[in-house]
Structures are given as C-alpha cells and as structure tokens.
C-alpha cells in the first residue's frame, strides 16, 4: 500500500475515533490489510473497512456517513476548497485532527464515554435531520446528499430494517431520561425485554459462582470419575434465589416518571431472582404498584399534580408498613430527592436503613444538579449504602446490578 493511502486511512480511523468509535491499533492494522486485499474500488473498500473497524452495528450509520464525507471529499476530481485543505494538511503532516471538522464533534466533553453518550443522545433527538432516528431506512436515502442512484441503492443495502432498529435501541440505552419523548419511551420498552434477559443472566451467574452451599453429590461423583475417582473438585447445588426481599420506592412525579416506570418494569421482569419483591410508587403518598398489560397500575391512585414529599412517604412507610422492613429487606429508592422544601426526615431514613439489609438510592438527575435548589438528596445520601447516578437506561441497569 502506498504511503499516502496509508496516511489517509489513518486519518479516517482518527475521524471515527473522534466520533466516539473505539478502534484499537490492531484493528487499524487489520483495516490496512483488509483494504490491501479487497482493493480500492468503492464498494469492496468500504465493506473491508467496515468489517475490520466497526464491531457494533449501532455504529454503522455513523461509519457510512463518515465514509461518504471523508472519501467522497478525498476522491473528488476537481480540487474544491475542502480538498485543497485536506491536501495541505497531508503535506504538512500535521496532527490529523486539526482544523476542518468534517462533522460537529462533541469535543468539549472530557471523557470518551461521555462523548459517545452525547453523540448517541444527539442521534435520538426527534427534531434533528438525522436519517437514522426518525425515518424508515428506505426513505432515509432521499435526503442523503449524494450524486448517483447506484450509491443510493448501496446505502439502502447498508442500513437495513434490523440495523436501523438496533441503532435506535443503542441510542435509547444511552439517552438521558429527561430528554425522552413519548416515542422514545415506547422504544425503551422494546429495549427493556433485552435488558431483562441480560439482567437475569448476570444475576443468575453471580448466584452460581458463589462456591458455597450444599454439595451436589451426583455431580461431584461424576466430576470425580474424570479424575480417577478422587474427590478433587466439589460441585455444589445451584443456589436458590437469595433470601432477599426487595422493596422499591419509585418517584412517579413528572420529572422522573419515565425512569421510575422503566425500573419497576425491569425489576418486575427479574422478580423470580429474589425471594419477594414489593414495589411502591410515591409522590406525596405511598401507593402499591403493579403491572397489567404493561401498564403501571397503582393502588390507591396518586394525584399526578401533587407536589413530591418524600418526608411524608417515609413516615407512612415507618408507621404503617413497618412489617416490610426487616434484616432481609433491600430497599431501593429511585427519585431526585426534591422535596419542595418540606421536612426531609432524613433521620427516619437512617432508622429504616438501620433495620434493613441496605438502602440504595438511584438518582436519575444529572449529578451537577444534586443538592441544588430544593434537592434534599445530600441529606438522604448520608444514610444510604450508596447513592448511584442513573440518568440513562444503561446507567440504571448498572446501578441495579450494584445494588442487588
């Protein structure tokens, strides 16, 4: 491969990295070899690069866009302004990322993961002219500024039905709850089924690897036959669901209700991994929560226009539902801790935490807003085992895994 070509590929890889795609050095080398083998024709070269650089289909639309812009520009015949620009840059051998931002990049973000999340969040915003998010794949081609019809059919091939769906799901997983539209919320339900399955597997695995419990005699003997009859490794019975009573308190007031309902549904889906699960929702009162046909049902029904009062909720829990609090109880609170300046009763949370196995607090609010205004979260934080940010479904899942 010629040196200019190699440099161009390196710049392209850099471009993708700038967009938040994680690409290792080994993969870059693979890409070079792949292109050398597949040739420089448009179709094969693009697919060779994609196969060696893009390992997650959710990143594919991004790759296609970057490819069209990058190589469309570099291969154009007449030296347009942007061409001379990139040429000059190559001649100088300057840092590949300098100047001429081909696409808006979330450069100001400090961490790569945040940049990626922001980029994905950007994809899902409805107002934007982003073909990935809103329109079915077929129509997306039309507003994709392109020269030939042949290329259009290529694109239709590249971004298919399922790929589009996956890209959207990946975007939803990293999108903050506060930016959800009703449509996003519906999509999130599709994702939930996947998350529940994943969650169950992870939880199940954790239960399994604990190397204690009752010996499984049959399997131990079987294992021993492999070792000439010596009882070298003991096999254990699969552990029963741990004796944990999960108690959930989820704030369903306007600001955090998407997070709350999604979490309740997620927990409902993995109910059998625990001994008992009790779910409650609250605004200014406590109400038992259940699901019917995928819709949240609460008894008694809460006034959605009420103002949050977690202090009162704690009192109700302590006075009327104290039978739910015991040494096996794992209490998970989801809320932003905004109490409308009513008494926080953090002392009561301390008492509850004392009676329970542990109390975890998941907060869907951005970390920088914690404690600002009427947020009493810092008072509560002192009494819980952990206060975990859960702004997105992705974070929520990890927070729950940490808690249980």
């Amino acid at each position: 491969m010629t040196t200019p070509m190699r440099e161009q590929l390196l710049r392209f890889v850099d471009e993708l990295r700038g967009e938040g795609v994680r690409i290792s050095v080994a993969e870059t080398l693979d890409a070079m070899r792949a292109v050398a083998a597949a040739g420089f024709e448009r179709g094969p070269m693009r697919e060779a690069l994609a196969a060696s650089l893009i390992k997650d289909e959710a990143d594919r639309p991004l790759f296609d866009r970057a490819y069209a812009q990058f190589f469309g520009r570099a291969h154009a015949a007449e030296p347009r302004q942007s061409d001379s620009h990139s040429g000059a840059r190559a001649a100088r051998g300057g840092p590949p990322n300098s100047g001429a931002g081909v696409m808006p990049r979330p450069r100001e973000e400090p961490e790569e993961s945040i940049a990626k999340a922001a980029r994905k969040a950007k994809i899902q915003k409805p107002g934007q002219s982003d073909q990935v998010r809103i329109k079915p794949a077929g129509e997306a081609d039309r507003d994709f500024s392109d020269e030939a019809g042949e290329k259009n059919s290529e694109r239709r091939e590249a971004v298919g039905t399922e790929a589009t769906r996956q890209a959207r799901l990946a975007a939803i997983e990293r999108a903050p709850f506060e930016h959800y539209s009703a449509l996003d919320y519906e999509m999130a339900h599709d994702l939930l089924a996947i998350l529940i399955r994943r969650f169950r597997v992870r939880l199940g695995r954790r239960l399994k690897i604990t190397g204690r419990g009752r010996v499984d005699f049959r399997r131990t003997i079987r294992a021993a036959t492999q070792r000439g009859g010596t009882l070298v490794d003991l096999r254990f019975r699969a552990r029963r669901p741990r004796h944990i009573d999960v108690l959930i308190l989820a704030d369903v007031s306007g600001s955090v209700r998407y997070a709350a309902t999604l979490m309740l549904e997620l927990i409902a889906g993995v109910r059998e991994s625990f001994h008992r699960v009790r779910s409650f929702v609250y605004i200014d009162h406590l109400a038992e929560a259940g699901f019917e046909d995928g819709h949240l049902v609460m008894t008694p029904t809460l006034d959605p226009y009420a103002r949050s009062d977690f202090g009162r909720v704690l009192e109700e829990l302590w006075e009327r539902r104290s039978e739910l609090l015991g040494p096996a109880t794992l209490m998970i609170v989801l809320g932003d801790g905004r109490n409308n300046r009513r008494p926080a009763r953090a002392d009561l949370l301390g008492d509850i935490a004392h009676r329970c196995r542990a109390v975890y607090w998941l907060n869907p609010e951005p970390t920088e807003r914690w404690g600002a205004g009427d947020s009493a979260i810092n008072q509560y934080a002192r009494h819980v085992a952990a206060l975990i940010p859960s702004r997105t479904l992705h974070e929520l899942e990890h927070a729950l895994l940490e808690a249980v």
């Binding site: 080994a26 693979d30 792949a34 083998a37 597949a38 060696s52 997650d56 590249a158 790929a163 399955r197």
Partner: protein
C-alpha cells in the same frame, strides 16, 4: 481454491446463497486474512448458513460447536473416555503389567474423546469451524476460546502440545443474548446480516421454492418486507418466509389475497399479539405488495 473476491462471489452463487457486497467482502476477507468472522443479526437471517456455504465452497467439512450456558472445556475441547480406560484397566489386571506399561496405553489417542474444537485442530486439512451462538456461552468460556483462536494449539498434559496443521476458517455467530467482550470483537472481522431487501428476498424465494410463480414470489417478498416494518414483537425471518412460500404453493394460491393470507399467517407470525395486530391490516398490506 484460490481466494479472490471473484471466486468467493462465484462460490456463494454456486451454493445458492444470495449475498450482497457486504457479505461477500466479509467472507473473502475472513478467508484471505485468516481471521475469525463474527456474524451478528436477527434470528433466521442466515448467519449459520454462511458457515455451511463457506464449507461447501472450500470443499471441506464443517465442524460445529453449539454453545450453551454451562458449556465447558470438557464438552468443547476434549475429555478422557473414563469408561473405556476403566475397561482397559480391568482387562490388563491379570496380565501382571506394570503401571508404566498400562499408563502408556491409557493416555493415548484411543482413549481421548475429541470434542469439536480439538477435532478442528487435529483435522489434516483446512476445515470450517462454526462456533454457533457464542453469546450463550459463559464469559469464562469466551476467554478460554480467545486463547485458542489466537494460536490454535492445545496442551494435553499426557500427550503434549498439539498444533493445528492448517488453521481452520472460523465463523462465530451471536444473537446478542449478552454483549460479547471487547477482546473477542477486536480479534474478529465483523459482519452484520440484516433482513434481505425485497429484491434479494425474491431471489432467495425463487431459488429455494422454484415451483412458486415468479409474480407471486415478488408479492410474497413485498408482503414479508412490509410485515417486518410493522413494528412486530418477532418479525418474520427468511426461514419463515420460505415456509410460507412453500405453503402458498401447496395451497395452490395464484394471487395474494386476504383470505389465504389470513389462513397462513400463523407461518409468519409466531406471537398472538402480532397476529391480532396484523390480521386487521392484511388487506392494506396486500394492496401495497402488488408490484406497481
């Protein structure tokens, strides 16, 4: 066979596999660069089929390792055939053999149960190794496999190190039951096989169900494509649309119309919710499926 892009696309055509540029390039690269190919995509889009087709193309055998939760080295790589060893021991007992003589027999290839991974390594020529549904296996097993995939050699304490004479062509498939590790993804070439376009699907139906009328094949492909865009719980796969096409020929359907579609909808939709959702829309979907 010489590995060139042309040969690969020809080989795919000969095997009756309708591929696009993306699939062709990925298969070619996996063979040319000798790298494992990780295939993802919705269930029933032809992931496993790729491995079979590659085996047919290379005129070699396909060795398949089906992954599941709890799969371990003993099931995937090798295991000593304890029962057979025991019988041998009993047979030897009265001949007054010393342990050295006995052990030499007992731990020889005769008493080794070769599991798929070892079979692929021991094969005298290049085989295709299909590791199916790798997402179902545990993370520990994935780590073990990574090591194997990087140098294709195993150490069996009693026999020594065995290295593959010819590196197998490896195809992994995943349905995303869980996220695969970054390390595995980095080591593989990646291919995502989506549902086919209308045109591809028509060609697939024509090849696999040749007795179906060409016009009807086109309509069927359009109808299935419309179903997949209807936001169903489980969109119909290619295998299902082929079953459906076969049913249509058996029923002697000449033209797609609401009654026969409703009667056969169960072949395409496997969820009651989906069926209820679509049943009322069948008419509209059909009228869209008529080629304009």
């Amino acid at each position: 066979m010489q590995i060139t892009p042309e040969n690969v696309s020809e080989g795919l055509r000969d095997a009756g596999y309708i591929a696009n540029q993306r699939i062709e390039t990925a298969i070619f690269l996996a063979l040319a660069l000798d790298k494992p190919l990780l295939i993802e995509g919705p269930a029933g889009s032809g992931k496993t089929e790729v491995a079979k087709v590659v085996a047919a193309m290379l005129h070699t055998e396909l060795i398949r390792l089906q992954c599941y939760e709890g799969l371990d080295e003993a099931r995937a790589l090798y295991e000593w055939n304890y029962q057979k060893q025991l019988l041998r021991l009993q047979a030897d007992e009265y001949q007054g053999l010393r342990w050295e003589d006995v052990s030499e027999h007992l731990f020889s290839r005769d008493y080794l149960l070769e599991r798929p991974l070892l079979r692929a390594i021991l094969a005298p020529h290049r085989v295709v190794l299909l590791i199916d549904e790798v997402d179902k296996a545990d993370e520990e097993f994935e780590a073990f496999m990574l090591e194997l995939l990087s140098d294709f050699q195993v150490s069996i304490p009693e026999l020594g190190t065995i290295r593959a004479r010819e590196r197998p062509a490896v195809v992994l498939t995943s349905n995303r039951a869980r996220e695969l590790s970054e390390a595995l993804r980095r080591r593989c070439l990646h291919l995502f096989i989506d549902f086919p376009s209308i045109d591809q699907e028509r060609r697939i139906i024509e090849i696999k169900v040749p007795e179906l009328d060409t016009k009807l094949a086109e309509q069927a492909a359009r109808f299935v494509n419309a179903l997949r865009k209807a936001g169903l719980k489980k969109p119909p796969s290619i295998a299902e649309s082929l079953d459906w096409a076969r049913a249509l020929t058996r029923l002697g359907v000449r033209e797609l119309e609401a009654a026969s579609v409703r009667a056969t909808l169960g072949l395409l939709l496997k969820h009651e919710d989906d069926r209820v959702k679509i049943e009322s829309k069948v008419g509209a979907l059909i009228s869209h499926s008529h080629p304009r």
